[in-house]
């Protein structure tokens, strides 16, 4: 592909990088059998359960898959609502 074509179509990343990025996502879902939709409902239920015990910031909750070698890990970042902030609201 000529670079003028790239500019014409505003292609920032090359196709090898695109392939790598797409594969990285596909492999996570293949390996864990967790679709983006399932991950979303997992996140919602998690928020529900944790909210029964502590006050959290539901919008700030992040659930992500991380990869270490061939090991998959589910990472949850769940910010708690601080007492100080509760007073201000």
């Amino acid at each position: 592909m000529g670079s003028w074509l790239d500019r014409l179509f505003h292609r920032e990343t090359n196709s090898a990088q695109q392939a790598k990025d797409r594969l990285a996502l596909v492999l996570i879902h293949d390996r864990t059998d967790l679709s983006p939709g399932t991950l979303e409902s997992l996140k919602n239920e998690l928020i529900e359960v944790i909210s029964r015990y502590v006050e959290i910031e539901p919008e700030a909750v992040r659930i992500e898959m991380s990869q270490e070698g061939r090991e998959q890990r589910l990472l949850a970042d769940i910010p708690l609502r601080t007492k100080q902030r509760r007073r201000t609201t």
């Binding site: 090359n14 196709s15 990088q17 790598k20």
Partner: protein
């Protein structure tokens, strides 16, 4: 020492399993090892034509399993490499004609008198793959730097691990260094990062492979081609030798070829 069973598999079809099996087998035999290649792709056999032995088939794998012949009768000896044998697949049967335990038994019968047993697995993750995997001591996964081949390789690597046959060892086949350089093909580093698996070999895309397959002469026996060298290196690594990975950068360019001419036997 009894033979090691090496299964060559890939998930996706057409990535070069049969070519790799034939060439690794030929390279091992050329190094003086006693090698048996088994075509486990029942119904779609091809290892016979790639090795140039198709005219000498009398009995096949299913004949052995079903007791119509002795094991020795189904082993075709390669005249160019007297230590290389082929057990061809049956062409008119399907994968269910053989079971994983049949394959284990067959390999156990071959182990004492050979150094390596190479099994050419069919594509897919069904019965044929299970047959090829069951007797394996080492699993070699072949892939190409293409999105679908890498995805399928990942699936196979996972299955190999869950069957406790791991860790699988990867051969990246048909690399086009010029495309990698232009950012139009996944690089070796990309594929290794995605699959997180041990690298066994890098094989450049080489037109000579097509020509040698046309003739039924394994490219590994051609001293000059880069792909042949790559397969010889893989055979030596499987034999436990430390062999540096070849640099593929020069391939294709005029200067690179010129350089290749003046450094014979390099990398």
């Amino acid at each position: 020492m009894p033979a090691k069973v090496i299964t060559v598999t890939s998930g996706k079809g057409g990535v070069g399993k049969t070519t790799a099996t034939a060439n690794i087998g030929a390279a091992m035999a050329a190094n003086g090892h006693k090698v048996v290649c088994i075509d486990a792709d029942i119904g779609l056999r091809n290892l016979d034509v790639v090795l140039g032995l198709e005219n000498r088939i009398v009995y096949d794998l299913v004949d052995v399993v079903e007791g119509r012949c002795r094991l020795r009768q189904a082993m075709i000896r390669d005249k160019r490499l007297p230590e290389l044998y082929l057990i061809p697949a049956a062409q008119t049967r399907d994968k269910s004609a053989v079971s994983p335990s049949d394959m284990v038994r067959l390999c156990n019968d071959l182990r004492e008198e050979h150094d390596y047993i190479l099994i050419d697995s069919p594509a897919g993750i069904e019965r044929g793959f299970r047959n090829a995997l069951a007797p394996a001591d080492i699993v070699v996964v072949i892939t190409n730097p293409e999105i679908s081949a890498v995805r399928d390789a990942d699936r196979i690597i996972g299955l190999v691990e869950s069957e406790e046959k791991g860790p699988a060892r990867l051969v990246l086949n048909r690399i086009k260094p010029a495309m990698v350089k232009r950012g139009e093909m996944l690089s070796t580093e990309d594929v290794l990062e995605l699959l997180a698996v041990e690298l066994l070999g890098l094989v450049p895309d080489d037109e000579v492979v097509v020509v040698s397959t046309n003739r039924g002469l394994p490219i590994a026996l051609d001293g000059k081609s880069k792909a042949g060298q790559a397969f010889r290196n893989i055979a030596r690594r499987l034999n436990g030798e430390q062999v540096a990975f070849m640099s593929l950068d020069d391939n294709g360019s005029f200067l690179g070829r010129l350089k290749g001419l003046f450094s014979p036997g390099g990398n």
